[in-house]
Structures are given as structure tokens and as C-alpha cells.
Amino acid sequence: MIYMAWFVCSCKKFVQIPAPVTQLVTTSTFSNSGSATAAVTSLYTQMQFSSFNMSQTCGLLSDELNIGLTNNTSLIHYFKNAMASSSGTYAGPWVEAYKYIYQANTIIEQLDHSNALNKAIKDQLEGEAKFVRGFWFFYLVNCYGDIPLVLSSDYTINANIARSPKNKVYQQIVADLTDAENLLSSNYVDGTDTTNTSERVRPTKWAAISLLARVYLYTKDFVNAEKMSTIVINNNSVYGIVDSLNDVFKANSKETIWQLAVPLPTTINTQDGYNFILIVPPASGGTANTSLISSMLLDSFETGDLRRIKWIGAYTTKGIPAISYYFPYKYKVYRSSNVTEYTMILRLAEQYLIRAEARAQQGSNLNDAIADLNMIRHRAGLADYMGTIDKTSILAAILHEREVEFFCEWGHRWFDLIRTGNSNAVMSVITPLKGGDWSSDWQLFPIPQGEINLDHNLIQNPGYL
């Protein structure tokens, strides 16, 4: 009997196996600063690979990009403002954002339980996780409107939740970013989380404040928007407007508040560069090298705007007649394993235009608003703002400046149209030109149908089947 009992016990042990040598058990991941940091920075690696679609997707949805004669159906549908809920293609931002939010939630929970890390490291990592969560909630709320507010990693809690109203989501974003502001280091740190570095590839206190400034602008809290952008602009020992347009998107340029480094080794620098730059005539299929700058965007540059020359590239055929195709050329590197450019996410120019808009909206100090606007105009080789000095004209000028400054960059144009209430006026003209029909319902993405099938508490956005 004893022998039998021993035998059965040893067999239980036989089938109890350790974690594979290629993986790390979650709790031990967060009991060591190296692996905990790796769990956080891998977020940026993943974002670097898949988030580039934001620039192209929103560029197609708005009036920035054209698709030539491509037969890529999903690009055609974005372009014609005809997204469909049943197609997995349009699930892009949803899937990506929630993947990062899940990881951020896990990190926050695990760090809470971990006693092995010192406070400085723990604060930095928790701050980054909260920053990333706030960042992606921001994009979700702007793409989809009300969204499921997922704040834990436990699927048994989350799998059936309903959408939370926009204001509640924004409250969470402000809370996350405020926490991040308090937790994050004010210096850029390297892989040890405590040593300073010149690489601007991890979020800092300033990144959190910059994003807060944007969030306040979007939520029309202009006082706080001004306050936050001022804090960043005043940190002029670290941040400044880069003189040469060709240097703005270089790795760690002075304008950079936060960039994503490309994980090494690599064959490209930035996904946007690889995606947009044409070295042959546009392709008839695929995602890369299919989209072109629209004539609307080309025409919106003022005469003499250097951005029209420096930030827009042209591929010209050698035949007769020679034909030119225009593409976004903010990033100069198409392919190279020698890295000189990083993916820009937050840069100082936006803070100036946020402050300009916040000041103009408050109406008390229009000249200061114009001063901020001129900062950006001067760099583009343009003269001072010469329009009438009233709130409406200045706001229109700022909005136009944002259009030509941030084109094909993280969906700024598309979100500007929507948040300022201009989308219906603009798109009801543009969409028919693109061969589609506009409805104000198309301001929001459809919730992927598969999500509604799985969670019956989710309700589709209006207008979508």
C-alpha cells in the first residue's frame, strides 16, 4: 500500500512540469526590475509595429489621402467613408488599443503586488503603464465614442461589460495621466529605469503633461489646456522648435516629447516612412505605397510654405509625359538598417498650437495666441499671421495651421474636424468627391461585429448595421 501511494505521488510529480525555459512565470516577471522593465518597454515595440495605420487610416477617412486606382477593398472603404462593422479590417485600432490596455492593466496589478522592486523603478514603470492606458483610451474614445472601460486583466469581470459614456472615459484618461505625471521621471531614462539618457523613447512627466494638454483641449477645458502646454513649452532647456523642417522627425530631435524607437535589428526606420514613400509608381494592391496626397491637401498650403516642399515628396515617371505622384515625406528613410529616424508621437509644435487655440478660445489674450501660431508659421518659412484679429478668424487660422503642420500624422486632421464640429460641413463636400456618401454617423468607427456577438451588452454605433 505504501509503495502504491508513493508510486501515485511520484506520478503526479512527473506530470507537473515547470514553466518552459523560453517563458517566464508572470509573478516572477515582476519580482525583478529587468524583466518588469522588459514587460513595459515591449509595449512600445508592439506599438511601433502596428500603430502606423492610424496615420494612413485617418488620412484616408479625411481629406488628406487619395488611393489612386488601388483594388485594395479595405483602403477603398476607408477612402469612401464606407466602413462596415462585419469586416475584421476595421477592427484595427480597437484590437491594437485593447491589447496594450490589457498589458498595462496587468502591469499595474502586478506592480501593486510586487514588493521586490525599489520605489523609483516601480513608480516609473507604473507611470508608464498608466500613461499608455490613458493614451490608448484617448484614441479609442475618439475613434469609437463610448467604449468599454476595461480597468483590469480579469476576463471574467470584463467579458460582459457595457460601453461607458465619453465623459467617464475622459475622466479616467485625466486620472491616469495625472497619476502618470506624478509617478514618471522628469528625465528620459534608459533600460535601467533610473539612469538618464538622451534617447527620448520612454514617456516622461512631460509626455504625460503634453497629452493632458491635448485631452483638456479636446474636452474644451481651455484653462487647463493652456496651463499644461505652458509647462511643457517653458521647459525650453529640453524642448524647442527645430529650425530645419528636415530635422523635425530625426531621432531625438529637440522638438521630440516622445518617440518610438525601432527595435533593433531592423530593415526599416519607421513604418510611416516605409508605408508612404514612393520609390516606384503607386502600387495597385497592398497597403504600403498605395496612398497618395490628395489634391485638397496639396491645395491647402499657402504659397511659399516650406512644408509643401520639404514634407511632401514626389515620384516622377521618366516617360513622356512625365507624371508626378505626391506622398507624405516627413520621414525621409524608406528602408535602411541604419536608424536615423524614430516614429514621432508627441512633439512640441503641437503644444504651441494647443496653447494658441486654448488662448484664442478663452478670448482674453488673442495676441499671445497669434504669437504661438507664428512660432510654427516662421519655421515653415511663412510670414506672421496677417488676418483679422478676432477669435473666429484666429481659430480658423490655427485649425488651418494644424492641417498643414500635422497632416498624415496620427490622425490629427480627422480628429480636429470632428472635435471642432467641422466634419459635417467639410466631409459632406469631400466624401462625394471621393465617390461615397457622407452621414454624420461616419464620424465614428463601427464597433467590430464580432465583439457585439460576444458581448451582448455592447450596442453598435448609430448608422452601422
Binding site: I17, T45, Q103, T106
Partner: protein, 1127 residues
């Protein structure tokens, strides 16, 4: 047979299948009627003239139940007798029968002993004098034809049913036996012998039974015979495999086994096959390996993984990545590592009774492959060499340039795109504006019809004496491919087997091993997909022999389908498997044995892409890349076992207990090197400017089980087989690792019953077997219950990232399959016709499936036990007949037929899962939710599907209906062997009734740039209002309604078509040299042969091939010529 009529509408489809069943039933009824007319017990009615004596004796046996025991010369056909008796006694009948014949006869205890008068007069004398009185001490030895003792042969006294077993020296002993008793000696795998006790010492030789009721049935840890088997097992012999020119033994099973459906996914050498044994038990999801529905494979006692070794990250070679692509698995099939020539037999275990001994791993059935062993006798050398070539089975009739351009212009006109035919947009229309539109190329001829060669050379040496036997085999196979370029899969293998029996016959040692080396340089892509290139597409090579890309403005205007010729892919595999079996007899009837097995598979892949294999502009150093992948899978297994055999009463008891300890480790590693400064340096990773580890995987799997089996057979009439086991698997979390499984099988050999013999005297053998059992399934990816982080191999600020591997769930446990089976085996016409009919019903519950989660939870699924209940039920039938057996002519026919049905019986809460629009409760899991197609709108020229809404716009999911199951509704094969003198002809006809996807789905929308289509599409498409067409209006891809309509069409039942086929799968013609020639050359055996695979296909399917379906390389028609000599 009511069970099959789930839906009355389906009745028609069953008719054909029922025909065979009906025939069987009619046959049976005929027997019953026939027998009823003659069913008397103790009297005999006979009227025969000039009938062979043996036949008359048989007839008397049938009528009376008396047995005849006689010497061999009685059976010679020279004794023809004429008898006429009506209701005569047995004595009277026998007196008439033997009148004037040189035989004496005696009736002893219902046994008629017949002897030649002259040969043994003393015998008769003794018999008559000793009747019922004389008791004697009898001992004997039972041995095989080689003179080796047969241990544990059963020796039964026919009159009483009692008996004994032979000991380790093949000896048996009866202290006191009535003289003249009749003994029946039987052993699994040997033909029964009946002997008469005449002396104190008997020597009995048992001949090996190759086919028929006595043939061995391998049931894993034990063997039985067809006669005594309570489970459902099919066997394919090594000879059947050797007659087919294939390099993958699985392909040799196609169409041969009831219940087993194998289909090729590609005609490329080494490609995977889809294997289904009695249907699909489990819903497949990404959380399961693609082998989750495969049977368990055992090669000489060692589990053989059906998972490909091809690197999961970067596949090299045509056989690509091991993921489902277009519903089919890719990667090199591991079965390619087995040499068909080394295989002695393959046993396929199907029902609960047969598979329960394998417990967890046998849920999808078990396939046991046994390699060749040495035999006692002179050392034999065998050489077999063949060579031939392959062609694709079928080609499509595609448009020529003129037709193609017409299609394109029509599409451009339809889409209102003529305006874009200007230089500004030339790059969007290269086929019209850039290429030479007078060119015509038949791309099927260029891409998949190139000459190639198939060579197979095998040599073996075998032999041994009674104590030690050995076999050594070596083989080389080279299988070319129909693509341009010198591409082939080459395989070399060596196999040996050694067995020894100790002088005291107590210890039997058997060692066997094989090693194979496979070298494949097949390209990374299948050029078959490029046969749809526009017929005016440019030449593939320029005048200098370089790849032509027809450059326009610095960019390529098409993807050159031969770009793979500039690249280089090689996959080198090593596979080693060894097995040691020790069997020791501690004392009489008690054996201890152990099986030690080890196998190791290793694959190294190199995939090199120089810059000229990319379309221009390709002058980026970062484009050049080399991928180096390696995979290793190691398995070891130890199986201690004890068995006990005893005679209890009139029956025989078999006990078996054992255990299994198994461990599998798998490792894979992929390195990508990029940034070479020159193509010349590309094979050297040191010349790369950067290299990174792109994948590094490790998994450990451990499995442990204890099992026991009790088998009892009473007078070989009532059979009982009980198996039980407890299994543990490392794939489950703490507390969930172990599961209990078991099965009961009962058999009733009713032909042994006197009353049955009276009713059905013509029935030689009849058995009913019923089994019920449960087996488990742990076929999921390892570690699913663990919460872990995995490195992503990418460095950010010098820190290599970690990401969460999965959504962990520690609570899932074993998936269970409950199997029920009822079978009938009968033998008639002196067992020349053997019929076996099975009904089975397998139900799988607690499905181990990735439980679908919304994306916003972070992962799309979590491993769990799904409440779905899937049923696979069906009828299988096998008929083996010896139609003709004459001195010079033999004709054997074997027919098998399978009628599988799948059903999702229940799935509580399915509407809340993402399966709600995939599977329908009450329907097959091969059914799909589709729109109902109602044809092309004559006005708009667009495909239309049925919509309930008033605006005619179909709504998802409201307008979906459930399609018919897209799978086989029945399948089978007819195997014929005809031997006439030295000639032998074997041929196998395979037939499959199935639904599949229309050929239209293999092509993009007709009219799209650089996309050729079959003439059939051209001839049936919509052109103008009012046309009643089959194919919708052409579009070049920019007319939104046409795209939308095409999308609806491809998700409608309009694309589900009949994909049935009948195929002359295999033909083998051989000629055996006559004896005198062989003697002159001192050869034991010599033959010449021609073998053909996939010779002829009959189908209505309009696509490439009904077996592979889509646009990938169809199965090859291979014809080889060869010779076989033994000396």
C-alpha cells in the same frame, strides 16, 4: 438503420449507400431461408452425385453438428462420391458414403474419425477397442513452420471445451486423456489445427495465417485475432503499401480502410495529408495544434508525432509554414520520414474497445505501424528498383490572349474605366498598356508540366535461426516535381530489426530502429497559384537568362512566378527512432515486459533570398536575407507491463497491467540575417550587418498512465474485453491532470452455437460485437493553464521585450470522447467471403477549445472546456472475397465503404459566442452559415442572394441559412488482385462523394488585372441586360456593387458544389519469372512490375483536382517501372 434519417430531405443522398447494405441484408436473408429448409439435427438428407468427398463431409457436418477428423489425402479431389439418403441416421449415411472407399471410419463422441485403411490399420483397431474407456497420458509440442516452439498456444479438448496452454517450450501435457480425443490447437496469428490423440506424444505445426479470421490483429499493447477481436480494427499489409509508388505511407492508405479518410493537400513531394478517422471530433481553433483531430500514431511502440517539424516561424521550401492556409495544413509531413518499404503492416484501431487501452491519446483513433522483422531461414537478399515520372492529374482550360484581353476590355467598360487607359495610369493596366499583347503563353505548361523523375531503390537482407533473427533494409528515393528547375525531395533511410529468444525460451529481446535523412530543395512557393497569370504576361527570363520583371518606370510590372529560382530553400531532416522490447517469463503464464522507445526528429531549414529574387527596385542591402531555422523533437517512452494468461473452466483468461511514462520535448529556433553587402556572401550569417533570433520555442510534455485489461473468452464463443486506465497529462493545471477512462467490449461468436449451426449451416463464421468506452483528449498546446511572459526577441533600449503569452485559465480538464459500436462479422462459402459491418457513434464532450473572448479583454480566446457535444456516427462496411481460386487463377476483391455523419448535438449558449454564426446546433460542424444564392440578376448582372428584408439588401446574420455539410458524405474503395500464373494485376478504385467549393472561388473576380480564368467562366458570364448567366458581370475591381455582390456570392451556398470523384488510385502489374529461369540465375524470386498512382480520375468538378480543391499543385499521376529480385 433508421438512425441515419435525421432529415427526410437527405433521403436521396443515401440511396446509393444503402444499396450495398441492402445487398448484404439480402445475402443474409437468403442464408436463413436456405438453412431453414434443411435444418434438421440428427438425421441426414443428401442427394449428391460425383461430389468431392470433402464437400459431402462438410455438408454432413452442417446438418448434424458432428465433426470429421481425417487425414490429408481425403481432401484430394480424386474421391468423388454419390450418395442418396433421406432422413437417414448418421451411421447409415456414413456406411453409404464410405462404401468401397479405402477408408475406415469411427464415430466417437460426435466426432467422425476417418483414416486410410492401409496407412494405419493399428490405429483403427486401437480406436475401436479403446472407445470410451482407455485413458492415456498425452503430451505434445506446438511449433511454427520454422520449428520454433509456440508458447501459450491454446490446446482445447473439443468434446469438453476444457484445455490447457503450452509452456515456454511450446509443450503441453494432459495427465489423463481419452484415447481418440480431438484436440483443437490455436494461437493468435496462426491457422487452427485439429489433431486426433493417437499416441502419447504429438507434434503440431501451426501455419501462419496471413489473411482471414485467424490473422493477427494488433491492438497496441496486445494482439488478438480477427476471430476473437471485440473491437473494430482494420489492417493494411506491407504488400499493399509496397505496390504503390508513394514516398509517404499515409498516401498508400487512401481508399483502403473503412472509416479512414485521407486526402492530399498538395501534389508536392512531402506535402501534408489531411487525416480523419471516423470524422472530426473536436472543433478546431487557434488554441489547438493542427494535429488536434489526428489519430495517435505508434511506430514500433514509439509514439510518432504527426506535427510537422517545419519551423513555425519561417517555413522554407514549398511546404511552407505549418499553419492552416486556405483551410489546409502546410509544412513537410513527418510521415515522409517513414520508408514505406520498411513497413510490415499498419493496423487502424477505431472503436472504444480497441482504442481505450491508449486512453487519452486514442480519442481520434490509433494507427499502429509495425516495421519488418527477420524470419527464420536462409539469409535472403532482396533488391527492388523502380523509376518513372509524374504529371499533374488534371489541367484547366484557361483563356487565350485574345479572350483574356476581351474580358479585360469588357471589365473596364463595365466599370466605366476606359477613361483611365491613358499613359498617366499605365502602371495600373500593364497587361493592356505595357506588355506585348500579341504574346501567348500556356502557363500551366510552363509552370507545372516540366519533366521530372521518380526513382526508388530498396535493398534488404534478412534471415536468422530459431533463436536469433535479423532484418536490415536500406532505401533511397528521389521524387522530382513538375516545376521548372531542378527541385526534388530526396530521402535515404536505413532500418534494422534484431530479435533473440534465450535458450530456455524465457527471455525474448527485440531491438529495432530506423534512421532517415531527407533533403528537400523544393521552392518556398507553389507556382501553381501563378497559372492564372495573364496569357500575355512577359517572358520569365530575359535574353541574358536573368529574371525578367518587365520594368516600367523603375518598378516591376508583375511578380515573376519564377523568382524562387533566384532564391534558395533547403530543408534537411534527420529522423531516428529506436525501440527495445524485453519480455521475460517469470513463471508459467506470467510475463513481465518492458518497452523502451526513443525518437528524435531534427529539421534544419535554410531560406535564402538574394536581392535579385525581389522585384526591382531591389538595390537595398536590407532586402537580402537569410533565414536559418532548426527544429528538434525528442520523445522517449517507457512502458513496463505484466501479463498473465490462464485457462479457467472452458475459457481463457488474459490479464494485463501496465504503465506508460512519456516525455516529448520540442525546440525550435529561427535566426534571420539581413543587410548583406553582396549576394555572394548571403549564405554566411557572419557577413550580415544584423541578425536576430526571430523565434525560439521550447515545450515539454509529459504523460503518464496506468492501465489494466481483462479479457476472457469462453470456448471462443463468448468474448469479453474490459480495459480501464488512469491518465495524467502535463497539459492540465494542478488538480486537473488526471482522468479515468475505460471500455467494455463483448463478442458473441454465434456461429459456434449449435442452434445457429442448425439454422445457418452455410455460415462458416459469425460474430456480433458491441463495445462502449470513453477515451480522453489532451491535444492542445502545452502550458495553456500557466500565466507567463514570453520574450519577443526585440530589443528596446537594450532590453529584450516580454509580452504576456496567453490568457491563463487553470481550470480546464480532459476532453472526453464516448464511443459506442456494434459490429457484425460473418464468413461464408468456406470463409471465402468475409463481411464486416460496423455502426459507430462517438460523442465528444467537454471540448477543449479556445473559449472566445471579445478583443477588449486582451486576448481573443482562453483555453476552456466548451459545452459543445459533437457526434460522429456512421456505418462502415468491408467485404473481402476470393471470387476465383483455381490452380492458375486467383481473384481477390476487397470492398470498403464508409458513411460518416457529423452533428453538433448540443451547445448551450452558442448564441453568445463567436461560434453563433459558424456552427449550427443540430447540423454537421462541416456545415456553414451562408446566404442562399438565387442566381445572377438578369438586369444588373450581379450575383444575388436571398434577403428577407423589403429592400432586398441581405442582412447579417438574419438572412443566413445553414448549408449542407461541406465534407464527404460517403467514400470507399474497391481493391482487386488478380493472379494468373506468373502475372499479377492489382488495382484500387477510390470513390468519394463530397461537397466542396466551386472552381470559381479559386479565382479572383473575373476581369481583374493579370488574372486569367477558365473558359467556362467566359462562356457563362453576364454581358447585357436580360442575359441569364451563371457568372456575374466582369469587373476590374473598382465597381463597388460588383465587389459586394461577389463577396455575398462567395459566402453563399452558390459556391458549394459537388466535388465527388472516382479515381483509379493505383494499378500494379507484375510478372514473376518462372521457376526454371529463377533456378538458372539461382534466384529465389524475380519479378518485373509497372506501378501507377492516380492513373485516371472521373469527376464533374470543374476545378483543378477534386481532392486538393483549390489552385495548388494537384496530386501527381506517377508511373514507374521496376524489378524486384530475391536471392
Amino acid at each position: 438503420m433508421k438512425y441515419i434519417f435525421h432529415e427526410p430531405a437527405a433521403y436521396c443522398r443515401w440511396r446509393k449507400c444503402l444499396l450495398i447494405m441492402r445487398l448484404t441484408i439480402i445475402l443474409l436473408i437468403a442464408f436463413v431461408l436456405h438453412a431453414g429448409a434443411r435444418g434438421t439435427a440428427q438425421t441426414v438428407t443428401l442427394s449428391v452425385t460425383n461430389m468431392p468427398l470433402e464437400k459431402v463431409c462438410k455438408e454432413i457436418e452442417h446438418q448434424t453438428g458432428y465433426y470429421f477428423v481425417y487425414a490429408k489425402d481425403l481432401t484430394s479431389e480424386s474421391h468423388l462420391v454419390s450418395v442418396k439418403v433421406v432422413s437417414a441416421s448418421i451411421g447409415e449415411t456414413l456406411r453409404q458414403l464410405f462404401y468401397g472407399l479405402p477408408f475406415s471410419w469411427q464415430v466417437i463422441n460426435r466426432v467422425v474419425v476417418v483414416n486410410t485403411v492401409k496407412a494405419n490399420p493399428r490405429m483403427v483397431e486401437r480406436l475401436s477397442s479403446s472407445q470410451g474407456e482407455k485413458m492415456m497420458k498425452v503430451e505434445g509440442i506446438v511449433q511454427n513452420e520454422d520449428g520454433q516452439p509456440i508458447t501459450e498456444a491454446s490446446v482445447t479438448i473439443r468434446a469438453t471445451g476444457k484445455g490447457t496452454l503450452t509452456n515456454e517450450n511450446g509443450r503441453f501435457f494432459f495427465p489423463s486423456l481419452e484415447a481418440g480425443s480431438v484436440l483443437v490447437i490455436s494461437h493468435i496469428g496462426y491457422s487452427d489445427q485439429i489433431v486426433l490423440v493417437k499416441d502419447n506424444f504429438l507434434t503440431v505445426n501451426l501455419p501462419v495465417a496471413v489473411k482471414g479470421l485467424n490473422a493477427t490483429v494488433v491492438k497496441g499493447y496486445y494482439k488478438t485475432s480477427n476471430k476473437l477481436n471485440t473491437g473494430s480494427v482494420a489492417t493494411v499489409s506491407g504488400e499493399d503499401i509496397a505496390r504503390q509508388p508513394v514516398t509517404d505511407p499515409l498516401l498508400a492508405l487512401e481508399g483502403r480502410v473503412p472509416g479512414l479518410y485521407i486526402s492530399q493537400t498538395s501534389g508536392a513531394p512531402g506535402a501534408y495529408s489531411t487525416i480523419q478517422l471516423r470524422g472530426q471530433n473536436s472543433i478546431y481553433t487557434s488554441a489547438k495544434p493542427i494535429t488536434a483531430n489526428d489519430p495517435l500514431f505508434i511506430v514500433d511502440g514509439v509514439p510518432f508525432s504527426s506535427q510537422t517539424l517545419t519551423d513555425p516561424y519561417y517555413g522554407g521550401g514549398l511546404l511552407g509554414r505549418p499553419f492552416f492556409v486556405g483551410g489546409q495544413r502546410q509544412g513537410m509531413s513527418p510521415f515522409n520520414y517513414l520508408n514505406p518499404a520498411d513497413i510490415e503492416r499498419i493496423d487502424i484501431l477505431k472503436d472504444g474497445d480497441a482504442t481505450a487501452i491508449y486512453g487519452s491519446r486514442g480519442a481520434n483513433g490509433v494507427i499502429i505501424i509495425t516495421t519488418k522483422k527477420g524470419k527464420v531461414g536462409q539469409t535472403k537478399i532482396n533488391i527492388n528498383v523502380s523509376t518513372g515520372a509524374s504529371k499533374v492529374t488534371r489541367k484547366l482550360d484557361l483563356l487565350n490572349t485574345h479572350q483574356y484581353l476581351n474580358m479585360r476590355y469588357e471589365a473596364l467598360k463595365n466599370d466605366n474605366f476606359y477613361q483611365y487607359l491613358v499613359p498617366e495610369y499605365a502602371m495600373y493596366f500593364p497587361d493592356i498598356m505595357i506588355w506585348d499583347s500579341t504574346r501567348y503563353t500556356d502557363w500551366q505548361k510552363v509552370l507545372i508540366s516540366q519533366p521530372n523523375n521518380f526513382t526508388n531503390a530498396q535493398a534488404s537482407i534478412s534471415g536468422g535461426n530459431t533463436s536469433t533473427q535479423f532484418a536490415i533494409g536500406a532505401g533511397y528515393t528521389r521524387q522530382g516535381v513538375v516545376f521548372p528547375g531542378r527541385y526534388a525531395d530526396q530521402k535515404g533511410s536505413i532500418h534494422f530489426s534484431l530479435s533473440n529468444t534465450s535458450p530456455n525460451n524465457r527471455l525474448v529481446t527485440q531491438l529495432s530502429a530506423f534512421y532517415s535523412y531527407d533533403n528537400s530543395n523544393l521552392p518556398g512557393v507553389d507556382p501553381t497559384q501563378n497559372i492564372t497569370l495573364a496569357p500575355d504576361a512577359p517572358a520569365l527570363f530575359d535574353a541574358n537568362g536573368n529574371l525578367n520583371w518587365q520594368v516600367f518606370n523603375g518598378g516591376a510590372t508583375f511578380d515573376n512566378p519564377l523568382s524562387y529560382t533566384a532564391a534558395y530553400a533547403r530543408a534537411i531532416s534527420h529522423f531516428l527512432s529506436g525501440n527495445l522490447q524485453l519480455n521475460y517469463q517469470i513463471f508459467s503464464r506470467l510475463h513481465l515486459s518492458s518497452n523502451f522507445g526513443f525518437s528524435r526528429g531534427q529539421l534544419n531549414q535554410t531560406n535564402i533570398s538574394p536581392s535579385n529574387s525581389f522585384p526591382p527596385p531591389n538595390d537595398f542591402p536590407s532586402l537580402r536575407s537569410s533565414v536559418f531555422g532548426s527544429t528538434e523533437i525528442d520523445t522517449w517512452i517507457i512502458e513496463p507491463q505484466a501479463s498473465y494468461l490462464a485457462r479457467i473452466g472452458k475459457g481463457q483468461l488474459d490479464l494485463l497491467v501496465g504503465g506508460t511514462f512519456q516525455e516529448n520535448t520540442a525546440k525550435s529556433n529561427t535566426v534571420i540575417a539581413t543587410g548583406f553587402s553582396s549576394d555572394a556572401l548571403i549564405t554566411n550569417p557572419l557577413a550580415a550587418s544584423s541578425s536576430k533570433v526571430a523565434g525560439n520555442n521550447f515545450t515539454l510534455y509529459r504523460y503518464n498512465a496506468f492501465y489494466g485489461k481483462i479479457n476472457y473468452n469462453w470456448k471462443e464463443t463468448y468474448l469479453l474485453n474490459i480495459t480501464a486506465r488512469r491518465d495524467g497529462s502535463s497539459r492540465f493545471g494542478p488538480g486537473k491532470q488526471f482522468g479515468n477512462f475505460g471500455a467494455v467490449g463483448i463478442g458473441w461468436v454465434f456461429s459456434k452455437e449449435r442452434f445457429i449451426q442448425d439454422i445457418l449451416p452455410r455460415l462458416d463464421f459469425g460474430k456480433i460485437r458491441i463495445s462502449y468506452g470513453s477515451t480522453g483528449n489532451d491535444q492542445i498546446i502545452d502550458y495553456q493553464y500557466m500565466s507567463t511572459y514570453t520574450p519577443n526577441g526585440l530589443s528596446y533600449q537594450g532590453v529584450t521585450g516580454l509580452y504576456p503569452t496567453r490568457m491563463p485559465n487553470p481550470y480546464f480538464a480532459w476532453e472526453r470522447v464516448n464511443k459506442m459500436e456494434a459490429g457484425l462479422d460473418i464468413g461464408i462459402l468456406a470463409n471465402k467471403v468475409l463481411i464486416s459491418v460496423d455502426y459507430y457513434r462517438n460523442r465528444t464532450k467537454d471540448q477543449l477549445v479556445g473559449f472566445p473572448l471579445p478583443y477588449f479583454t486582451g486576448f481573443t480566446n482562453v483555453q476552456g472546456n466548451l459545452p459543445a457535444l459533437i457526434q460522429n456516427a456512421g456505418v462502415e462496411c468491408g467485404i473481402n472475397t476470393t471470387a476465383i481460386k483455381k490452380r492458375d487463377l486467383t481473384w481477390n476483391i476487397a470492398v470498403n465503404f464508409s458513411l460518416p455523419r457529423n452533428k453538433l448535438v448540443a451547445y448551450p449558449g452558442i448564441e453568445k459566442t463567436s461560434y453563433a454564426t459558424t456552427y449550427a446546433v443540430g447540423h454537421s460542424i462541416f456545415s456553414r452559415f451562408v446566404y442562399h444564392y438565387i442566381g445572377v440578376d438578369p438586369q444588373t448582372g450581379l450575383y444575388r442572394v436571398l434577403s428577407k428584408s423589403s429592400n432586398g439588401i441581405p442582412k447579417f446574420p438574419e438572412d443566413l441559412i445553414v448549408s449542407k455539410p461541406i465534407t464527404q458524405s460517403y467514400h470507399g474503395g474497391i481493391q482487386n488482385t488478380i493472379i494468373y500464373k506468373g502475372f499479377q494485376l492489382d488495382f484500387l478504385i477510390q470513390f468519394v462523394k463530397q461537397l466542396g467549393y466551386s472552381y470559381i472561388t479559386s479565382f479572383d473576380r473575373p476581369g481583374i488585372m493579370n488574372q486569367n480564368v477558365p473558359v467556362l467562366i467566359m462562356n457563362n458570364h453576364w454581358q447585357k441586360a436580360g442575359d441569364a448567366a451563371v457568372v456575374q458581370r466582369f469587373t476590374q475591381g473598382s465597381y463597388y456593387p460588383a465587389d459586394q455582390a461577389n463577396g455575398l456570392f462567395t459566402s453563399s451556398d452558390g459556391v458549394i458544389v459537388d466535388q465527388s470523384f472516382a479515381r483509379l488510385k493505383n494499378v500494379n502489374i507484375s510478372y514473376h519469372l518462372p521457376g526454371k529461369w529463377k533456378d538458372k540465375a539461382s534466384l529465389q524470386e524475380a519479378s518485373l512490375f509497372v506501378q501507377c498512382q492516380n492513373l485516371l480520375t472521373i469527376t464533374k468538378f470543374a476545378g483543378m483536382d477534386p481532392e486538393t480543391g483549390g489552385l495548388n499543385l494537384p496530386p501527381m499521376r506517377t508511373i514507374v517501372l521496376g524489378f524486384n529480385v530475391t536471392f
